[in-house]
């Protein structure tokens, strides 16, 4: 009905933000009810990029299905692969060599920094500042170069395999990661000068898109979105996997619940990731990079669950096995879906400008929501 009339029964304006819109960073479709510029209702419409990845996984073997998940949240593809491998290893009780564990964690954190760098630039672009995008990509480029040198790919790396990693590290790896760390540290102040300390930016972000602690829990928000509201939800701390229990880092928590808090969580998370990498980069143990596994993996009958902390929040992998070489059913709990569900609540009663300021800090990746 509203497609024809364009207004609701109360005389409010209906407007489609998306599926093709510069601020949604993908094919997200928001049907908004506006009173002037004030948002009365926001309704996300999903499914534009649904590829039925969960169903596809049912016909792939346990070695193959890991790599399909790169295409879910493509910005933290390595962490998705990591979660899937962990689930398979947990089910088959494979002991991963310590060298592989450390390599995986270093790459996880590099991926997290790369993802947050992209978020930082894209969010500033949502607010109308175009320049930060180029500055963040300057540093992100060095990370993707490291990735390329290590495993040949820059974005969807497919470096992890059940039992370890595909191949050993490049001899230059440590040197290049160290030079990245010093580069990042020297440029990080520039980020804060250009964006964080800007008075216009702070006015746009503070008190906007407030999500209370209770609401964050009841909407199932995870990751920086929840931590911005003061909910402790870092899987690396709560349910440590690999070597996360052995490294020192802080879970970044902010209590404001507004867009600025979520912004500060992500900005400071980059520093924590740097801290983790610094501890591990000089202490990569010698040894095998892959455990000895059979060519065809067969999971025992049963149900297995593994969660990991991606750049956006908690990714859950739930495998139901009937004992064959392919999973009977796979379910992914993606962070973006739950975080998006809180958007309507957060922007109610605010202006359209606040919508992009809020949506930017949720760091939505649409293929992750639709799968």
């Amino acid at each position: 009905m509203f497609e024809e009339l364009g207004t609701t029964a109360e005389g409010d304006m209906l407007i489609n933000i998306g599926p093709q819109h510069p601020a949604t960073h993908g094919v997200l479709h928001l049907v908004m009810t506006l009173n002037g510029e004030t948002i009365k209702k926001t309704e996300p419409h999903l499914g534009y990029i649904h590829r039925s990845i969960e169903k596809m996984c049912e016909s792939l073997t346990y070695r193959q299905f890991v790599y399909v998940t790169s295409r879910m949240d493509y910005l933290s593809s390595h962490i998705n692969n990591h979660g899937c491998s962990l689930a398979v290893e947990k089910a088959m009780q494979i002991e991963v060599p310590e060298r592989a564990q450390v390599i995986r964690v270093i790459m996880d954190e590099l991926t997290r920094i790369a993802s947050h760098e992209l978020w930082w630039g894209a969010m500033a672009m949502d607010l109308g500042a175009f320049t930060p995008f180029f500055y963040s990509f300057r540093e992100r480029e060095t990370i993707t170069d490291i990735m390329e040198e290590t495993c040949g790919a820059r974005l969807t790396m497919n470096y992890i395999c059940p039992g370890g990693v595909m191949m050993d590290l490049h001899p230059d790896f440590q040197k290049r990661v160290k030079s990245f760390i010093s580069l990042f540290k020297s440029k990080f102040d520039e980020y804060n000068e250009l964006v964080t300390g800007n008075i216009i930016f702070q006015n746009r972000m503070k008190g906007v898109g407030v999500l209370s602690k209770e609401d964050a829990i009841s909407y199932g928000c995870t990751g920086p979105t929840a931590r911005g509201s003061g909910v402790s939800s870092d899987i690396r701390k709560l349910y440590p996997y690999e070597v996360y229990s052995k490294v020192q880092f802080d879970e970044v928590l902010e209590t404001g619940g507004d867009s600025f808090s979520r912004y500060m969580v992500r900005i400071n998370e980059m520093l924590q990731s740097i801290k983790i990498i610094e501890q591990l980069i000089d202490n990569i143990p010698e040894g095998e990079f892959q455990a000895k596994t059979k060519a065809v993996l067969k999971l025992p009958k049963g149900e297995f669950y593994q969660r990991v902390e991606t750049a956006r929040g908690e990714l859950g992998i739930y495998i139901v096995s009937e004992g064959g070489t392919t999973p009977h059913r796979i379910k992914f709990r993606s962070p973006g879906f739950s975080n998006l569900s809180a958007l309507g609540h957060m922007v109610k009663g605010s202006k359209i400008g606040d919508l992009v300021a809020t949506m930017g800090t949720l760091d939505l990746v649409i293929p992750d929501i639709d799968r």
């Binding site: 109308g128 500042a129 359209i352």
Partner: protein
């Protein structure tokens, strides 16, 4: 001596000697019209290129560098593309108003070229209410923008046009009040009088802090009036896709685009004329020798240099700051800029009465 005044005078005398006075005036109209249109096109193209180069410089990249030397013909190629594109009129739009709107915006921008003094004695029309003419005509463009937004039959356009209307009408107050400070100090609305009053120093130096304040307010206000970032809410890309010109394509879009850049040029030219002395070289009081040396630099260079410095300043703003929200934008004007300008105006009036300036 390289002076544009001699050329214009020679043309004027030659025309009057060969033709009768009416025909001479008519042919002068024709020459001026052709020159204005040519200037419109050249300025538009060069400013777009300058914006892209400045943006590239700030954003650590190269910018256009493929078409011609240093990418100088990139904007020409872009314009050719826009001319060849289909000028689409959407279904359900008010066809007459939709097609009229870009011309109103463009004509308003072109009329503003009339009282600008490009160099010593090189001015289309030295009207005795020059400053009033500039402020009055510059308000016409908002009608074109509102018309475009309303006639497009698109909600993004409508929101953009409404934002633009609220913004331009508000910021005109501050811009007008800061212009009035100079009018009070000079005692004239005529552009040539204002420039001549700065023969012994530009107003920004002569007028102490109050004129400096009104200069800063003027720059903020004209940035908002020309819909430039951080006040580009009317076309806020990430919110309203393209704002009031979402539905325009081809040459009709190009007219909006060119008019925006001409408006920037004119706003900066007014700023340079009122506060930085227009074509007047940098003079200090009675330092005759120094003033004489400065006079060797042609007056057109001074004008272009000052104007492009201000344009560079506005581009620098655009590529540094994030965008304001609509309520913050109006708060800034009504709660801060307008009261400050009013108080500043009183101080300047006192200054002018007591003669507290050089």
């Amino acid at each position: 001596m390289l002076s544009l005044e001699n050329i214009t005078n020679a043309v004027h005398e030659w025309l009057n000697a060969t033709l009768n006075p009416n025909l001479a005036l008519l042919s002068e109209f024709l020459i001026v019209g052709v020159l204005a249109i040519a200037l419109f096109a050249v300025l538009g193209l060069s400013l777009v290129l300058m914006e892209r180069k400045v943006a590239a410089f700030i954003q650590i990249r190269l910018g256009p560098n493929r078409v011609g030397p240093f990418g100088m013909f990139q904007t020409v190629a872009d314009t050719l593309k826009l001319i060849m594109k289909e000028g689409l009129t959407p279904d359900g739009a008010d066809k007459f108003l939709f097609n009229l709107a870009p011309y109103i915006v463009m004509i308003a921008a072109m009329m503003l070229l009339a009282p600008i003094a490009f160099a010593k004695g090189f001015q289309i029309w030295d009207i005795n209410i020059g400053v009033l003419f500039l402020t009055a005509v510059s308000s016409i463009s908002v009608i074109g923008i509102l018309m475009a937004g309303w006639a497009s039959n698109n909600k993004y356009s409508l929101l953009g046009a409404m934002r633009s209307g609220a913004q331009i009408v508000s910021y005109e107050l501050s811009a007008g009040l800061s212009i009035i400070t100079i009018v009070i100090l000079t005692g004239s609305l005529q552009i040539s009088d204002i420039i001549n009053a700065q023969a012994n120093g530009w107003w920004i130096f002569k007028g102490h802090i109050p004129v400096l304040i009104s200069f800063v307010i003027f720059i903020i206000a004209v940035t908002a009036e020309t819909n430039r970032a951080p006040f580009d809410l009317a076309e806020a890309e990430s919110e309203l896709t393209a704002g009031f010109h979402t539905e325009y394509s081809g040459m009709k879009f190009a007219l909006f685009f060119l008019a925006e850049y001409i408006n920037i040029f004119i706003a900066c030219a007014i700023g340079a004329t009122l506060f930085l002395g227009g074509w007047m070289p940098f003079h200090i009081g009675h330092w005759e020798a120094f003033n004489h040396i400065m006079d060797f630099i042609p007056s057109s260079f001074w004008f272009i240099g000052k104007t492009f410095f201000l344009i560079f300043l506005m581009m620098w703003f655009r590529w540094t700051f994030p965008r304001l929200r609509i309520d913050q934008l109006l708060n800034l004007e009504w709660k801060y800029l307008l009261p400050i300008s009013l108080v500043n105006l009183l101080v300047v009036a006192l200054m002018a009465v007591m003669g507290w300036y050089f």
